[in-house]
Amino acid sequence: MTELLEFFDFNYALEILPVLLEGLWVTVQVSVAGFALAAVLGLLMALARRSENSWLSEPVGALVEFVRSTPLLVQLFFLFYVLPRYGLRLPPFIVGTVALGLHYGTYASEVYRAGIDAIGRGQWEAARALNFSTGYTWTGIILPQAIPPMIPALGNYLIAMFKESAQLAAITVPELLFTGQVLGARNFRYLVPITMVGALYFAISYPSSLIVRQLEARYARAT
Protein backbone atom coordinates (compact mmCIF):
# COMPACT_ATOMS: atom_id res chain seq x y z
CA MET A 1 0.00 0.00 0.00
CA THR A 2 2.72 2.46 0.95
CA GLU A 3 4.51 1.52 -2.23
CA LEU A 4 1.42 2.34 -4.24
CA LEU A 5 1.00 5.59 -2.36
CA GLU A 6 4.53 6.51 -3.30
CA PHE A 7 3.77 5.84 -6.95
CA PHE A 8 0.39 7.48 -6.86
CA ASP A 9 0.82 11.21 -6.56
CA PHE A 10 -2.40 12.53 -5.03
CA ASN A 11 -1.45 16.13 -5.58
CA TYR A 12 -0.98 15.46 -9.25
CA ALA A 13 -4.29 13.58 -9.31
CA LEU A 14 -6.10 16.59 -7.86
CA GLU A 15 -4.33 18.88 -10.25
CA ILE A 16 -5.52 17.01 -13.36
CA LEU A 17 -9.02 16.26 -12.06
CA PRO A 18 -10.68 19.36 -13.59
CA VAL A 19 -9.23 18.51 -17.01
CA LEU A 20 -10.38 14.90 -16.70
CA LEU A 21 -13.87 16.03 -15.68
CA GLU A 22 -14.05 18.01 -18.91
CA GLY A 23 -13.23 14.80 -20.75
CA LEU A 24 -15.86 12.96 -18.74
CA TRP A 25 -18.41 15.60 -19.72
CA VAL A 26 -17.62 14.95 -23.40
CA THR A 27 -17.97 11.20 -22.78
CA VAL A 28 -21.37 11.73 -21.18
CA GLN A 29 -22.51 13.97 -24.04
CA VAL A 30 -21.41 11.57 -26.75
CA SER A 31 -23.00 8.65 -24.88
CA VAL A 32 -26.33 10.39 -24.46
CA ALA A 33 -26.38 11.65 -28.06
CA GLY A 34 -25.24 8.27 -29.40
CA PHE A 35 -27.82 6.45 -27.34
CA ALA A 36 -30.65 8.76 -28.39
CA LEU A 37 -29.67 8.06 -31.99
CA ALA A 38 -29.42 4.32 -31.30
CA ALA A 39 -32.87 4.26 -29.68
CA VAL A 40 -34.46 5.92 -32.71
CA LEU A 41 -32.44 4.05 -35.37
CA GLY A 42 -33.02 0.78 -33.53
CA LEU A 43 -36.78 1.25 -33.61
CA LEU A 44 -36.74 2.23 -37.27
CA MET A 45 -34.54 -0.76 -38.13
CA ALA A 46 -36.75 -3.13 -36.16
CA LEU A 47 -39.87 -1.80 -37.92
CA ALA A 48 -38.16 -1.96 -41.33
CA ARG A 49 -37.11 -5.58 -40.75
CA ARG A 50 -40.72 -6.47 -39.97
CA SER A 51 -41.98 -4.82 -43.13
CA GLU A 52 -43.77 -7.00 -45.64
CA ASN A 53 -41.90 -5.15 -48.36
CA SER A 54 -38.76 -7.23 -48.92
CA TRP A 55 -37.07 -4.32 -50.72
CA LEU A 56 -37.00 -2.65 -47.33
CA SER A 57 -36.71 -5.54 -44.87
CA GLU A 58 -33.86 -7.43 -46.54
CA PRO A 59 -31.36 -4.58 -47.09
CA VAL A 60 -32.00 -3.32 -43.56
CA GLY A 61 -31.59 -6.86 -42.22
CA ALA A 62 -28.29 -7.19 -44.08
CA LEU A 63 -27.09 -3.83 -42.76
CA VAL A 64 -27.95 -4.82 -39.19
CA GLU A 65 -26.07 -8.11 -39.47
CA PHE A 66 -23.08 -6.41 -41.09
CA VAL A 67 -22.79 -3.69 -38.46
CA ARG A 68 -23.24 -6.19 -35.63
CA SER A 69 -20.54 -8.41 -37.06
CA THR A 70 -17.79 -5.81 -37.45
CA PRO A 71 -15.85 -4.01 -34.69
CA LEU A 72 -16.88 -0.54 -33.63
CA LEU A 73 -13.26 0.58 -33.97
CA VAL A 74 -13.17 -0.42 -37.64
CA GLN A 75 -16.44 1.45 -38.23
CA LEU A 76 -14.98 4.52 -36.54
CA PHE A 77 -11.85 4.43 -38.67
CA PHE A 78 -13.91 3.91 -41.78
CA LEU A 79 -16.19 6.87 -41.09
CA PHE A 80 -13.34 9.10 -39.97
CA TYR A 81 -10.59 8.31 -42.48
CA VAL A 82 -12.37 6.92 -45.52
CA LEU A 83 -15.45 9.13 -45.92
CA PRO A 84 -13.43 12.38 -46.18
CA ARG A 85 -11.82 10.92 -49.32
CA TYR A 86 -15.27 11.03 -50.84
CA GLY A 87 -15.90 14.57 -49.71
CA LEU A 88 -17.75 13.89 -46.44
CA ARG A 89 -15.67 15.50 -43.73
CA LEU A 90 -17.33 15.59 -40.32
CA PRO A 91 -16.07 16.72 -36.92
CA PRO A 92 -14.82 13.83 -34.70
CA PHE A 93 -17.65 14.30 -32.21
CA ILE A 94 -20.28 13.87 -34.93
CA VAL A 95 -18.52 10.84 -36.42
CA GLY A 96 -18.30 9.30 -32.96
CA THR A 97 -21.98 9.94 -32.24
CA VAL A 98 -23.05 8.49 -35.58
CA ALA A 99 -20.85 5.42 -35.20
CA LEU A 100 -22.07 4.73 -31.67
CA GLY A 101 -25.67 5.38 -32.70
CA LEU A 102 -25.46 3.06 -35.67
CA HIS A 103 -23.53 0.32 -33.88
CA TYR A 104 -25.72 0.28 -30.82
CA GLY A 105 -28.80 0.94 -32.93
CA THR A 106 -28.36 -2.54 -34.40
CA TYR A 107 -28.23 -4.03 -30.90
CA ALA A 108 -31.22 -1.95 -29.84
CA SER A 109 -33.13 -3.14 -32.91
CA GLU A 110 -32.81 -6.71 -31.65
CA VAL A 111 -34.15 -5.62 -28.27
CA TYR A 112 -37.08 -3.88 -29.94
CA ARG A 113 -37.69 -6.90 -32.13
CA ALA A 114 -37.87 -9.25 -29.16
CA GLY A 115 -40.07 -6.81 -27.26
CA ILE A 116 -42.48 -6.41 -30.17
CA ASP A 117 -42.58 -10.16 -30.79
CA ALA A 118 -43.53 -10.65 -27.15
CA ILE A 119 -46.84 -8.84 -27.73
CA GLY A 120 -49.42 -11.52 -28.40
CA ARG A 121 -51.33 -11.89 -31.63
CA GLY A 122 -54.52 -11.12 -29.73
CA GLN A 123 -53.51 -7.49 -29.24
CA TRP A 124 -53.07 -7.03 -32.98
CA GLU A 125 -56.38 -8.73 -33.64
CA ALA A 126 -58.25 -6.65 -31.08
CA ALA A 127 -56.74 -3.50 -32.60
CA ARG A 128 -57.92 -4.57 -36.01
CA ALA A 129 -61.37 -5.57 -34.81
CA LEU A 130 -61.74 -2.09 -33.31
CA ASN A 131 -60.61 -0.62 -36.62
CA PHE A 132 -57.58 1.27 -35.33
CA SER A 133 -55.29 2.62 -38.05
CA THR A 134 -51.93 0.91 -38.53
CA GLY A 135 -50.16 3.97 -37.13
CA TYR A 136 -52.28 4.12 -34.00
CA THR A 137 -52.00 0.37 -33.51
CA TRP A 138 -48.24 0.89 -33.21
CA THR A 139 -48.18 4.09 -31.19
CA GLY A 140 -51.24 3.49 -29.01
CA ILE A 141 -51.42 -0.27 -28.56
CA ILE A 142 -48.21 -2.17 -29.36
CA LEU A 143 -45.29 0.08 -28.44
CA PRO A 144 -46.69 1.29 -25.09
CA GLN A 145 -46.79 -2.37 -24.05
CA ALA A 146 -43.55 -3.43 -25.72
CA ILE A 147 -41.21 -0.66 -24.62
CA PRO A 148 -41.38 -0.66 -20.79
CA PRO A 149 -40.07 -4.23 -20.45
CA MET A 150 -37.21 -3.33 -22.82
CA ILE A 151 -35.94 -0.53 -20.62
CA PRO A 152 -33.52 -2.66 -18.55
CA ALA A 153 -31.96 -4.21 -21.68
CA LEU A 154 -31.65 -0.79 -23.31
CA GLY A 155 -30.18 0.58 -20.06
CA ASN A 156 -27.50 -2.12 -20.12
CA TYR A 157 -26.61 -1.11 -23.66
CA LEU A 158 -26.40 2.52 -22.57
CA ILE A 159 -23.86 1.57 -19.91
CA ALA A 160 -21.92 -0.62 -22.33
CA MET A 161 -21.89 2.23 -24.82
CA PHE A 162 -20.70 4.68 -22.18
CA LYS A 163 -17.65 2.47 -21.58
CA GLU A 164 -17.04 1.65 -25.21
CA SER A 165 -17.13 5.32 -26.12
CA ALA A 166 -13.49 5.23 -24.95
CA GLN A 167 -12.74 3.90 -28.44
CA LEU A 168 -13.57 7.35 -29.74
CA ALA A 169 -10.16 8.36 -28.45
CA ALA A 170 -8.83 6.67 -31.60
CA ILE A 171 -10.42 9.36 -33.74
CA THR A 172 -9.37 12.22 -31.44
CA VAL A 173 -12.72 12.92 -29.78
CA PRO A 174 -11.61 14.76 -26.61
CA GLU A 175 -13.46 12.36 -24.34
CA LEU A 176 -12.28 10.89 -21.04
CA LEU A 177 -9.72 8.31 -22.21
CA PHE A 178 -8.31 10.65 -24.85
CA THR A 179 -7.86 13.34 -22.20
CA GLY A 180 -6.06 10.84 -19.94
CA GLN A 181 -3.77 9.80 -22.79
CA VAL A 182 -2.91 13.40 -23.61
CA LEU A 183 -2.11 14.11 -19.96
CA GLY A 184 0.02 10.99 -19.76
CA ALA A 185 1.93 11.80 -22.91
CA ARG A 186 2.56 15.34 -21.80
CA ASN A 187 4.54 14.28 -18.71
CA PHE A 188 5.31 10.66 -19.59
CA ARG A 189 3.36 9.75 -16.45
CA TYR A 190 0.53 7.39 -17.30
CA LEU A 191 -0.24 5.71 -13.97
CA VAL A 192 -2.13 8.56 -12.34
CA PRO A 193 -4.20 9.81 -15.31
CA ILE A 194 -5.17 6.34 -16.55
CA THR A 195 -6.07 5.17 -13.04
CA MET A 196 -8.21 8.27 -12.61
CA VAL A 197 -9.86 7.64 -15.98
CA GLY A 198 -10.78 4.11 -14.89
CA ALA A 199 -12.11 5.37 -11.58
CA LEU A 200 -14.27 7.98 -13.28
CA TYR A 201 -15.78 5.41 -15.68
CA PHE A 202 -16.50 3.22 -12.67
CA ALA A 203 -18.04 6.10 -10.72
CA ILE A 204 -20.68 6.49 -13.44
CA SER A 205 -21.11 2.90 -14.65
CA TYR A 206 -21.51 1.15 -11.34
CA PRO A 207 -24.32 3.28 -9.87
CA SER A 208 -26.02 3.18 -13.27
CA SER A 209 -25.92 -0.61 -13.33
CA LEU A 210 -27.51 -0.64 -9.86
CA ILE A 211 -30.35 1.51 -11.22
CA VAL A 212 -30.81 -0.85 -14.16
CA ARG A 213 -30.89 -3.81 -11.79
CA GLN A 214 -33.68 -2.11 -9.84
CA LEU A 215 -35.61 -1.48 -13.03
CA GLU A 216 -35.18 -5.15 -13.95
CA ALA A 217 -36.63 -6.20 -10.62
CA ARG A 218 -39.52 -3.80 -11.06
CA TYR A 219 -40.47 -5.09 -14.52
CA ALA A 220 -39.99 -8.69 -13.42
CA ARG A 221 -42.58 -8.05 -10.70
CA ALA A 222 -44.96 -6.32 -13.06
CA THR A 223 -45.16 -9.22 -15.51
Partner: protein, 265 residues
Protein backbone atom coordinates in the same frame (compact mmCIF):
# COMPACT_ATOMS: atom_id res chain seq x y z
CA UNK B 1 -77.56 -29.43 -47.09
CA UNK B 2 -80.84 -27.82 -46.22
CA UNK B 3 -82.45 -24.87 -47.94
CA UNK B 4 -81.74 -21.57 -46.31
CA UNK B 5 -84.73 -20.12 -44.52
CA UNK B 6 -86.59 -17.51 -46.54
CA UNK B 7 -85.44 -14.02 -45.73
CA UNK B 8 -87.72 -11.08 -46.22
CA UNK B 9 -84.98 -8.47 -46.02
CA UNK B 10 -81.54 -8.27 -47.60
CA UNK B 11 -78.99 -10.16 -45.52
CA UNK B 12 -76.59 -8.15 -43.37
CA UNK B 13 -73.92 -10.78 -44.00
CA UNK B 14 -73.66 -13.04 -47.02
CA UNK B 15 -70.94 -15.61 -47.74
CA UNK B 16 -70.80 -16.65 -51.39
CA UNK B 17 -68.77 -19.77 -52.10
CA UNK B 18 -66.13 -18.71 -49.61
CA UNK B 19 -63.12 -20.98 -49.39
CA UNK B 20 -60.31 -20.69 -46.88
CA UNK B 21 -57.41 -23.09 -46.62
CA UNK B 22 -54.33 -23.17 -44.43
CA UNK B 23 -51.86 -25.02 -46.62
CA UNK B 24 -53.52 -28.31 -47.50
CA UNK B 25 -56.13 -27.99 -44.78
CA UNK B 26 -59.38 -26.63 -46.18
CA UNK B 27 -61.32 -25.03 -43.33
CA UNK B 28 -64.08 -23.35 -45.33
CA UNK B 29 -65.24 -25.20 -48.43
CA UNK B 30 -67.24 -23.02 -50.84
CA UNK B 31 -69.37 -21.84 -47.97
CA UNK B 32 -72.70 -20.16 -48.69
CA UNK B 33 -74.18 -18.59 -45.62
CA UNK B 34 -76.48 -15.64 -44.90
CA UNK B 35 -77.31 -13.75 -41.75
CA UNK B 36 -80.38 -11.51 -41.64
CA UNK B 37 -80.31 -8.15 -39.86
CA UNK B 38 -80.87 -8.65 -36.13
CA UNK B 39 -80.71 -12.42 -36.53
CA UNK B 40 -79.00 -14.42 -33.77
CA UNK B 41 -77.13 -17.37 -35.18
CA UNK B 42 -75.21 -19.93 -33.16
CA UNK B 43 -72.58 -22.00 -34.92
CA UNK B 44 -71.87 -25.35 -33.34
CA UNK B 45 -69.66 -28.20 -34.41
CA UNK B 46 -66.59 -30.24 -33.54
CA UNK B 47 -63.29 -28.58 -32.70
CA UNK B 48 -61.21 -27.80 -35.76
CA UNK B 49 -64.24 -27.78 -38.01
CA UNK B 50 -63.65 -24.19 -39.14
CA UNK B 51 -66.38 -22.47 -37.09
CA UNK B 52 -64.04 -19.83 -35.75
CA UNK B 53 -62.63 -19.21 -39.23
CA UNK B 54 -66.09 -18.03 -40.34
CA UNK B 55 -65.85 -15.26 -37.76
CA UNK B 56 -62.20 -14.54 -38.49
CA UNK B 57 -62.63 -14.00 -42.23
CA UNK B 58 -65.62 -11.77 -41.46
CA UNK B 59 -63.54 -9.73 -39.00
CA UNK B 60 -60.80 -9.51 -41.68
CA UNK B 61 -58.35 -11.35 -39.45
CA UNK B 62 -57.93 -14.04 -42.12
CA UNK B 63 -58.16 -13.51 -45.84
CA UNK B 64 -60.33 -15.99 -47.76
CA UNK B 65 -58.76 -17.78 -50.72
CA UNK B 66 -61.86 -17.54 -52.88
CA UNK B 67 -65.45 -16.35 -52.82
CA UNK B 68 -67.09 -13.11 -51.84
CA UNK B 69 -68.33 -11.90 -48.47
CA UNK B 70 -70.96 -9.18 -48.42
CA UNK B 71 -71.61 -6.98 -45.41
CA UNK B 72 -74.67 -4.75 -45.51
CA UNK B 73 -74.73 -4.88 -49.29
CA UNK B 74 -71.01 -4.14 -49.79
CA UNK B 75 -68.29 -6.63 -50.64
CA UNK B 76 -65.86 -6.93 -47.70
CA UNK B 77 -62.65 -8.17 -49.30
CA UNK B 78 -63.37 -6.61 -52.68
CA UNK B 79 -64.22 -3.30 -54.20
CA UNK B 80 -66.82 -2.96 -56.90
CA UNK B 81 -65.75 -1.13 -60.03
CA UNK B 82 -68.26 0.97 -62.01
CA UNK B 83 -69.16 -1.94 -64.26
CA UNK B 84 -69.78 -4.14 -61.22
CA UNK B 85 -66.59 -6.20 -61.38
CA UNK B 86 -64.96 -7.14 -58.08
CA UNK B 87 -61.34 -6.24 -57.49
CA UNK B 88 -59.31 -6.82 -54.30
CA UNK B 89 -60.04 -4.20 -51.65
CA UNK B 90 -57.47 -1.77 -50.32
CA UNK B 91 -56.97 -1.01 -46.62
CA UNK B 92 -59.25 2.04 -46.81
CA UNK B 93 -62.16 -0.03 -48.09
CA UNK B 94 -61.49 -2.77 -45.55
CA UNK B 95 -61.57 -0.23 -42.74
CA UNK B 96 -64.84 1.20 -43.96
CA UNK B 97 -66.68 -2.11 -44.23
CA UNK B 98 -65.02 -3.57 -41.14
CA UNK B 99 -66.61 -0.77 -39.14
CA UNK B 100 -69.91 -2.64 -39.35
CA UNK B 101 -68.52 -5.58 -37.44
CA UNK B 102 -67.48 -6.08 -33.84
CA UNK B 103 -65.88 -9.05 -32.19
CA UNK B 104 -65.46 -10.53 -28.73
CA UNK B 105 -62.56 -12.96 -28.41
CA UNK B 106 -62.06 -16.17 -26.49
CA UNK B 107 -59.07 -14.69 -24.65
CA UNK B 108 -60.60 -11.20 -24.19
CA UNK B 109 -57.59 -9.41 -25.72
CA UNK B 110 -58.12 -6.33 -23.57
CA UNK B 111 -55.38 -3.71 -23.75
CA UNK B 112 -53.47 -4.35 -20.51
CA UNK B 113 -51.96 -0.85 -20.32
CA UNK B 114 -55.36 0.84 -20.25
CA UNK B 115 -58.03 1.03 -17.57
CA UNK B 116 -61.33 -0.73 -18.17
CA UNK B 117 -63.04 2.47 -19.19
CA UNK B 118 -60.24 3.54 -21.52
CA UNK B 119 -60.40 0.13 -23.17
CA UNK B 120 -64.00 1.02 -23.98
CA UNK B 121 -63.66 4.67 -25.08
CA UNK B 122 -60.29 4.46 -26.88
CA UNK B 123 -61.62 3.30 -30.24
CA UNK B 124 -64.67 5.62 -30.32
CA UNK B 125 -62.29 8.55 -29.75
CA UNK B 126 -59.46 7.50 -32.08
CA UNK B 127 -61.40 5.67 -34.77
CA UNK B 128 -64.83 7.31 -34.83
CA UNK B 129 -63.53 10.73 -33.79
CA UNK B 130 -66.07 11.14 -31.00
CA UNK B 131 -65.41 13.94 -28.49
CA UNK B 132 -63.79 12.43 -25.43
CA UNK B 133 -66.47 13.51 -22.93
CA UNK B 134 -69.17 11.92 -25.02
CA UNK B 135 -67.17 8.71 -25.51
CA UNK B 136 -66.40 8.50 -21.79
CA UNK B 137 -70.04 9.00 -20.85
CA UNK B 138 -71.09 6.29 -23.25
CA UNK B 139 -68.32 3.98 -21.99
CA UNK B 140 -69.62 4.50 -18.47
CA UNK B 141 -73.14 3.57 -19.43
CA UNK B 142 -71.89 0.49 -21.28
CA UNK B 143 -69.81 -0.65 -18.31
CA UNK B 144 -72.86 -0.04 -16.09
CA UNK B 145 -74.90 -2.15 -18.44
CA UNK B 146 -72.51 -5.11 -18.19
CA UNK B 147 -72.51 -4.78 -14.41
CA UNK B 148 -69.10 -3.13 -13.95
CA UNK B 149 -70.15 0.30 -12.66
CA UNK B 150 -67.54 0.04 -9.89
CA UNK B 151 -64.64 -1.05 -12.12
CA UNK B 152 -64.07 1.93 -14.43
CA UNK B 153 -60.54 2.63 -13.27
CA UNK B 154 -59.36 -0.96 -12.80
CA UNK B 155 -56.70 -2.36 -15.11
CA UNK B 156 -57.42 -5.70 -16.78
CA UNK B 157 -54.90 -7.43 -14.51
CA UNK B 158 -57.09 -6.45 -11.55
CA UNK B 159 -60.22 -8.05 -12.99
CA UNK B 160 -61.49 -11.63 -13.04
CA UNK B 161 -61.90 -13.47 -16.32
CA UNK B 162 -65.64 -12.89 -16.34
CA UNK B 163 -65.18 -9.18 -15.66
CA UNK B 164 -62.55 -8.93 -18.40
CA UNK B 165 -64.88 -10.54 -20.88
CA UNK B 166 -67.67 -8.15 -19.93
CA UNK B 167 -65.32 -5.19 -20.49
CA UNK B 168 -64.49 -6.72 -23.88
CA UNK B 169 -68.18 -6.89 -24.72
CA UNK B 170 -68.66 -3.25 -23.70
CA UNK B 171 -65.61 -2.32 -25.78
CA UNK B 172 -67.03 -3.97 -28.88
CA UNK B 173 -70.49 -2.45 -28.29
CA UNK B 174 -69.00 1.05 -28.04
CA UNK B 175 -68.29 0.89 -31.78
CA UNK B 176 -71.99 0.28 -32.47
CA UNK B 177 -71.51 -2.57 -34.92
CA UNK B 178 -74.38 -3.96 -36.97
CA UNK B 179 -72.99 -7.46 -36.59
CA UNK B 180 -71.33 -8.76 -33.46
CA UNK B 181 -69.16 -11.85 -33.47
CA UNK B 182 -68.65 -13.94 -30.33
CA UNK B 183 -65.81 -16.44 -30.63
CA UNK B 184 -66.12 -19.07 -27.89
CA UNK B 185 -66.28 -16.25 -25.38
CA UNK B 186 -66.75 -18.47 -22.35
CA UNK B 187 -64.25 -21.22 -23.21
CA UNK B 188 -61.38 -19.60 -21.32
CA UNK B 189 -63.44 -18.88 -18.20
CA UNK B 190 -63.65 -20.75 -14.93
CA UNK B 191 -67.02 -22.52 -14.80
CA UNK B 192 -68.40 -20.27 -12.06
CA UNK B 193 -67.77 -17.17 -14.23
CA UNK B 194 -69.50 -18.43 -17.37
CA UNK B 195 -72.96 -17.44 -16.17
CA UNK B 196 -72.28 -13.72 -15.74
CA UNK B 197 -70.94 -13.45 -19.30
CA UNK B 198 -73.75 -15.47 -20.85
CA UNK B 199 -76.21 -13.32 -18.90
CA UNK B 200 -74.89 -10.17 -20.56
CA UNK B 201 -75.02 -11.73 -24.02
CA UNK B 202 -78.54 -13.01 -23.38
CA UNK B 203 -79.67 -9.46 -22.60
CA UNK B 204 -78.06 -8.17 -25.78
CA UNK B 205 -79.85 -10.86 -27.75
CA UNK B 206 -83.17 -9.78 -26.26
CA UNK B 207 -82.57 -6.13 -27.13
CA UNK B 208 -82.63 -7.25 -30.68
CA UNK B 209 -81.31 -4.69 -33.17
CA UNK B 210 -77.83 -6.12 -33.66
CA UNK B 211 -77.17 -9.29 -35.63
CA UNK B 212 -75.17 -11.78 -33.57
CA UNK B 213 -73.03 -14.63 -34.74
CA UNK B 214 -71.87 -16.89 -31.94
CA UNK B 215 -69.47 -19.81 -32.01
CA UNK B 216 -70.14 -21.69 -28.83
CA UNK B 217 -69.91 -24.98 -27.00
CA UNK B 218 -72.68 -23.97 -24.59
CA UNK B 219 -75.55 -25.95 -26.08
CA UNK B 220 -78.17 -24.85 -23.56
CA UNK B 221 -77.29 -21.23 -24.21
CA UNK B 222 -77.34 -21.74 -27.99
CA UNK B 223 -80.77 -23.24 -27.73
CA UNK B 224 -82.03 -20.37 -25.65
CA UNK B 225 -80.73 -17.30 -27.50
CA UNK B 226 -80.52 -18.23 -31.15
CA UNK B 227 -83.02 -17.81 -33.96
CA UNK B 228 -81.07 -20.34 -35.94
CA UNK B 229 -78.49 -22.98 -35.14
CA UNK B 230 -75.92 -23.99 -37.71
CA UNK B 231 -74.11 -27.29 -37.39
CA UNK B 232 -70.79 -26.95 -39.10
CA UNK B 233 -68.29 -29.68 -39.87
CA UNK B 234 -65.33 -30.16 -42.21
CA UNK B 235 -65.66 -26.70 -43.72
CA UNK B 236 -69.32 -26.90 -44.60
CA UNK B 237 -72.76 -26.41 -43.11
CA UNK B 238 -74.10 -29.88 -42.44
CA UNK B 239 -77.47 -28.86 -41.08
CA UNK B 240 -79.22 -25.71 -39.92
CA UNK B 241 -82.57 -24.68 -38.58
CA UNK B 242 -84.42 -23.35 -35.56
CA UNK B 243 -82.85 -24.48 -32.27
CA UNK B 244 -85.76 -26.80 -31.34
CA UNK B 245 -85.35 -28.67 -34.59
CA UNK B 246 -81.57 -29.02 -34.43
CA UNK B 247 -81.45 -30.01 -30.79
CA UNK B 248 -84.61 -32.13 -30.57
CA UNK B 249 -84.87 -33.60 -34.01
CA UNK B 250 -81.59 -33.43 -35.94
CA UNK B 251 -81.86 -34.99 -39.38
CA UNK B 252 -78.26 -35.50 -40.38
CA UNK B 253 -76.42 -38.48 -38.84
CA UNK B 254 -73.33 -36.33 -38.19
CA UNK B 255 -75.41 -33.80 -36.28
CA UNK B 256 -77.05 -36.60 -34.33
CA UNK B 257 -73.69 -38.11 -33.51
CA UNK B 258 -72.17 -34.74 -32.45
CA UNK B 259 -75.14 -33.75 -30.28
CA UNK B 260 -75.31 -37.23 -28.84
CA UNK B 261 -71.67 -37.02 -27.82
CA UNK B 262 -72.07 -33.48 -26.48
CA UNK B 263 -75.21 -34.19 -24.48
CA UNK B 264 -73.75 -37.34 -22.97
CA UNK B 265 -70.92 -35.24 -21.51
Amino acid sequence: MQERPEQATAPIVRFQEVTKAFGDLVVLRELDFDVAPAEKVCIIGPSGSGKTTILRVLMTLEKPNAGVIWVDGEPLWHKQTKDGALVPADEKHLRKVRGNIGMVFQHFNLFPHMTAIRNVYEAPVHVLGQPKEKAVARAQSLLDKVGLADKYEQFPSQLSGGQKQRVAIARALAMQPKVMLFDEVTSALDPELVGEVLGVIRELALEGEMAMLLVTHEMGFAREVSDRVVFFDKGQIVEQGPPEQIFSNPQNPRTQQFLGATLRH
